[in-house]
């Protein structure tokens, strides 16, 4: 596989975003990108085909300071805000596999509830080891019977003395197959929202089983599980925050997750565009490089325009989040736009690659498959639209 050699051509466009960034953002992006190019990219094809990446990648990423961006330094994180997180995700995506990025990044959705609870015990037992890359974390919200409508969560936790007894199932859990612990949303009361509470379930607890390792359209290198909980006895100290605090915590963390998915979308489109720019200069048809055809150049122009819009909005939203502004409408819009752009740009990238674009050895083939999840995961496109419409007064 040839290395992408076109970064210089997008170089000036990259400067365009520098209004949003200071030196710390640029240095972090370079550092994370270097990590991805050295530690992920050379192996990514094998890992994708194997459906898993080596566990050591977690500790390597932790040692390189890639895992802890956005988490407090006091707990072993790297500090930094939303834009810094954006930089680390963009950098990691340079491995060219959303699955690897999302698998490494599953702590990004699993840990915030624990951190926000302020619980010292949870921080020591779970947050620190996960940020060191020693324990793998996952988040369990979706169930066989409920997805976007969180009020439908049916997994139950019944108090029995100093334990809770948990029964239920969770579906589509990123990193769930080999996670050492799971941040699980369960029902402790009947109120649709007020009756929800987070618990940390551990792999070794009797009654926790991985019922299935799921085969997916894309994100092959990340393991995805269906989990079953049968009379799992969970000590009270594994409860995250007070009973009934689950829904509020969840709402608070949705924004970060949506921003992360927007970041995947932007990075996907950017890499697909760069790969296409390289390919159309090399590939010849009718005696000249296909870059010589107007239809090709116009495709590239459309792809660049869409990328420009999605990336600008995403960076703008992250900047606003770092200022502490309430941007639930805008982050939902960024997630939707980035997802749509990722789909559109990867579609055209595959088209420009022709037959090669349909081959599994080609980067854009993977990106196109991986992108299909973006309008589904982390809140569907339709749910994002409901949020946007609601905030417009409808």
């Amino acid at each position: 596989m040839t290395r992408s050699r076109v970064s210089a051509n997008l170089g000036r466009m990259a400067d365009f975003y520098d209004n949003f960034l200071d030196e710390s953002h640029r240095l972090l992006r370079t550092s994370c990108r270097r990590f991805a190019e050295a530690e992920i990219r050379p192996h990514v094809h094998d890992w994708e085909e194997a459906g898993i990446f080596p566990r050591e990648l977690y500790t390597k990423a932790a040692a390189a300071g890639v895992l802890g961006v956005g988490f407090p330094e006091e707990l072993g994180g790297s500090g930094g805000g939303a834009l810094h997180q954006l930089m680390s995700l963009e950098g990691l995506m340079r491995g060219t596999s959303t699955g690897v990025a999302a698998g490494l990044g599953s702590l990004g959705i699993a840990l915030p509830a624990l951190v926000q609870s302020g619980d010292h015990g949870l921080a020591e037992r779970f947050v620190r080891p996960a940020l060191r890359g020693e324990k793998i974390a996952c988040l369990g919200i979706t169930e066989p019977g409920t997805g976007s409508d969180v009020a439908g969560v049916a997994t139950r936790a019944r108090r029995e003395g100093d334990h809770y007894v948990v029964n239920g199932a969770k579906l589509f859990i990123t990193s769930g197959v080999r996670a050492d612990f799971m941040t699980v949303l369960a029902r402790t009361g009947d109120d649709p929202h007020g009756g929800l509470t987070f618990f940390v379930l551990e792999k070794e607890m009797p009654g926790v089983t991985v019922s299935r390792s799921l085969k997916k359209t894309g994100w092959w290198a990340s393991d995805t599980a269906e989990l079953a909980f049968s009379d799992v006895r969970v000590p009270v100290e594994n409860r995250v925050g007070p009973e009934g605090s689950g829904f509020k915590t969840l709402m608070r963390n949705f924004q970060t997750e949506r921003l992360a998915l927007a970041a995947y979308g932007v990075a996907t489109a950017e890499i697909a565009l760069e790969e296409s720019m390289r390919y159309v200069r090399e590939r010849k048809a009718f005696g000249r490089p296909i870059a010589g055809f107007q239809v090709t150049r116009h495709k590239l122009a459309d792809m660049a325009t869409q990328l420009l819009a999605a990336k600008t909005l995403t960076y703008q939203v992250a900047t606003r989040m770092d200022r502490g502004e309430y941007v639930v409408k805008e982050v939902s819009a960024a997630k939707n736009l980035a997802a749509e752009v990722a789909l559109a740009v990867t579609y055209e990238a595959v088209q420009l690659h022709g037959g090669m674009g349909y081959m599994r050895e080609t980067v854009v083939e993977r990106l196109a498959r991986d992108a299909r999840l973006l309008p589904i995961g982390g809140g569907t496109q339709e749910v994002m639209k409901e949020i946007i419409a609601k905030s417009m007064g409808f």
């Binding site: 710390s24 240095l27 972090l28 550092s31 961006v69 930094g80």
Partner: protein, 253 residues
């Protein structure tokens, strides 16, 4: 220990480059820059030695204000401070660079080691470390693949890669060492260190601030040529045809 590290910015070696119209330089209009990989090895080794022996790591860079971002990247890796000598890239050759490095060395006091990358991947000259050692009258150990320092003995043991094997040298400190790629794997800059690097000092010097007797350039780039375009491959029909072509066209047999 006090360690100086020469730290150079180069055009991204993986980027496609163009020559200027007069063909004496690379067109820098839209290129991206990186730290020279060998300089990163030099810095990494300095940081490891500092972790082992305590002390200070000082970056020394030559260039205009726009190399500050590369210097910050080095500070984010863990160097303590930096010295930037203001000079245009095209006003430099290896000899003047070495004279400037030697002058900075004399300004800084009690230096134990001056570590360079074995060469910069842009000019590939591979002589600045050696020249600096010469101008300072210091022992040199170039192309290091392993470095150990015995502070009490005032000595460094350097394994260097030579044709067909390894050579081990003991050099008295202070000394000049140049780093090869296999010396180490440079660390990634982490966000907390990136934040700390913002506050680290970059001292700025002009040539006039330094005592350099001879600032004349010894080398003039007359012209640069792009490598010849590769011709497309050809599929031949038989082994005989292949042998014939290897013999008569490629003259490889």
């Amino acid at each position: 220990m006090k360690i100086l590290v020469a730290f150079k910015r180069v055009i991204d070696p993986d980027a496609r480059i163009k020559l200027t119209a007069d063909k004496t330089a690379v067109d820098t209009e839209s290129v991206e820059y990186k730290a020279n990989p060998f300089c990163e090895n030099a810095l990494e080794e300095a940081l490891r030695l500092k972790e082992e022996h305590d002390g200070e790591v000082v970056l020394v860079s030559l260039g205009g204000e726009d190399i500050t971002q590369t210097i910050r990247a080095g500070l984010a890796m863990g160097a303590d401070r930096a010295v930037r000598v203001e000079i245009e890239d095209k006003a430099l050759d290896s000899d003047l660079a070495a004279r400037i490095f030697a002058a900075v060395y004399k300004e800084e006091e009690d230096v134990d080691l001056f570590i360079f990358g074995k060469q910069a991947v842009d000019g590939d000259n591979n002589q600045v470390g050696q020249l600096t050692a010469q101008y300072l009258g210091l022992p040199q150990a170039c192309f290091a693949s392993e470095v150990e320092v015995d502070e009490d003995a005032g000595e460094a043991t350097v394994t260097r890669e030579v044709d067909g094997g390894l050579e081990t040298l003991a050099v008295k400190l202070p000394a000049v060492i140049t780093a090869d790629l296999r010396l180490n794997t440079p660390r990634y800059a982490k966000l907390p260190d990136i934040m700390k690097a913002r506050k680290k000092e970059i001292e700025e010097l002009d040539l006039d601030d330094l005592e350099i007797e001879d600032t004349a350039l010894k080398i003039e780039v007359v012209s640069l040529e792009e490598p010849p375009k590769r011709k497309g491959g050809e599929i031949v029909g038989s082994v005989d045809a292949l042998v014939e072509k290897l013999k008569n066209e490629a003259r490889a047999l």
